[in-house]
């Protein structure tokens, strides 16, 4: 999971407050812009507001390691390493299979890769909050968003993965899950059936936030089970 940023550190909790969720322990915090450039590259600007702007970003291929490295990268590395270029005479007609395989692997554009369920695991959203125009006393209020996002772990609430707090150029950055389906306006009008499906999910998120009970067993444990099935 690329824990190479030695300068990155675990979030420091306000004194006396216990860790809320397992998720909270996994959100990495960084201080340097340099760390960001090492891991991510910006693809697109999605939106811009007064204080903040939202970008679509992508994890650099070489930052994704081990078994979670995407298939196309693994294949490409494999080809570079082990296969000499095909002699032209052979590649023309003699070995159509080899040729077509090579073509397929090498021409795959990582950015076009997506599945029915949504963006791949390499794309994220980045929220950049500009602190330069904000007075000292308001800064804590803006950091509030990070503190709250870290504690929430629910299937219908956006998840934060990494945060960058840079004193030098007064920026606050949050790497989050990317949503590509637009907001509620995007799918107007709603049938009653679709509306109930959406409202239920919104209520589920809100009752989790308002909740006075202990959340017991969350979605992501299932992934643990899936990992077990695979290996």
């Amino acid at each position: 999971m690329g824990a190479r940023g030695s300068k990155s550190r675990r979030s420091e909790l306000p004194e006396g407050r216990p860790m809320r969720s397992f998720h909270e322990a996994l959100v990495r915090e960084h201080d340097l812009r340099h760390d960001f450039d090492d891991i991510f590259e910006i693809c697109d600007c999605i939106g811009q507001g007064g204080l903040c702007s939202i970008y679509k970003i992508r994890k650099k291929d070489d930052q994704i390691g081990g078994s979670s490295r995407p298939e196309h990268v693994r294949r490409r590395l494999h080809i570079r390493k082990y296969s000499a270029p095909l002699p032209r005479a052979l590649s023309n007609k003699g070995f159509p299979l080899a040729m077509s395989l090579n073509e397929r692997f090498l021409s795959q554009d990582p950015s076009s890769e997506s599945n029915a369920a949504g963006p791949t695991n390499m794309h994220f959203a980045l929220k950049v909050i500009n602190l330069a125009m904000v007075k000292e006393d308001k800064i804590d209020q803006l950091k509030n968003e990070i503190e709250i996002l870290k504690t929430l772990d629910h299937k219908n609430i956006i998840k934060a993965f990494e945060t960058f707090q840079m004193r030098a150029n007064k920026k606050l950055m949050i790497v989050m899950e990317l949503c590509t389906g637009g907001d509620l306006f995007a799918r107007l009008p709603y049938s009653e059936r679709h509306a109930t499906v959406c409202i239920k999910q919104i209520l589920s998120a809100i009752s989790y936030m308002h909740c006075k009970l202990t959340p017991v067993f969350q979605t992501r444990f299932y992934v643990s089970c899936l990992v077990l099935l695979r290996y």
Binding site: N121, I199, Q201, I206, M209, P215, V216
Partner: protein
């Protein structure tokens, strides 16, 4: 290794969240992907606030005018204000984007919200079921104490009735569901450290990667809270021929990974 143990020492029992979103509106509710069944994600916690359970009165007048509750406008409110905003969103979804409260000037809009005056007279409402209208009526209530809470709203007939209809044609493959259930049992027998490692992998994966698994999870989660309680867990694994005690033990072991590791 050391980093993992650092995490181990960090995790303590899950405690309750007491957070009010304070800016629920159409723009802050997103679809995860373009898929027709894409999950909803609530975004933008810039105005959210954590409050102590003992003193849960909030006073800052923040939010976006069209979805702000009357008590937020007055400056004394609780997390019940979020439920009003959900009422506004439900109204807009069914009315093709028309807002329940509108005014030519902000002042007029505020006056209308404070009176809680809205109607279902537009053409679109003719085809809407009484259940939907009663749901909106239960949320757009000026007195916050008479308004449904999030848990109450989830039990409203309009939502529960729809669930029963949908569950008939489930899109999850039976085989897959079976494998997930077996996976849970195998998972419960792992050592703490392996459990933890798997949890780290799980937390680091994005929603798209767990699309299928989440569907199974939603089947288990019969009361739609986003969490699986012990009774739901028992119901899900019922046909595996485990005794009541065994199921309790499996559940305890599964949950243990993230709740008791702080003892290390």
């Amino acid at each position: 290794m050391s980093r993992a143990f650092e995490i181990l020492t960090l995790v303590s029992p899950l405690t309750a969240n007491n957070i009010a979103h304070r800016d629920l509106k159409f723009e802050n509710i997103m679809f995860e992907s373009k898929h027709p069944e894409a999950a909803i994600k609530v975004i933008d916690f810039g105005l959210s606030k954590e409050y102590s359970p003992n003193n849960h009165i909030l006073t800052e007048r923040v939010g976006t005018l069209y979805s702000m509750s009357p008590e937020t406008l007055q400056g004394i409110y609780t997390n019940q204000a979020d439920l009003w905003s959900i009422g506004v969103c439900t109204y807009m979804m069914l009315a093709a984007g028309d807002k329940p409260f509108e005014g030519k000037t902000p002042k007029q809009l505020v006056a209308k919200i404070l009176m809680g005056k809205y109607d279902f007279e537009a053409e679109v409402w003719k085809d809407i079921s009484p259940g939907a209208i009663s749901f909106i009526h239960s949320l757009l209530v000026v007195q916050p104490e008479n308004r449904s809470s999030a848990t109450d709203a989830m039990r409203h007939g309009w939502l529960t009735h729809a669930t029963r209809q949908n569950s008939d044609h489930s899109s999850v493959d039976d085989n897959f569901r079976q494998r997930v259930k077996q996976g849970i049992i195998r998972y419960s027998n792992l050592g703490d450290f392996r459990k933890l490692a798997l949890n780290v992998v799980a937390k680091k994966s994005t929603s798209a990667e767990i699309f299928e698994i989440r569907k199974v999870f939603e089947e288990f989660d019969t009361n739609n809270t986003g969490t699986i309680t012990l009774p739901e867990f028992k119901a899900a694994l019922e046909h595996f021929d485990y005794s009541e005690g065994d199921l309790m033990e499996i559940f305890r072991k599964v949950v243990r990974a993230t709740t008791t590791l702080e003892r290390r």
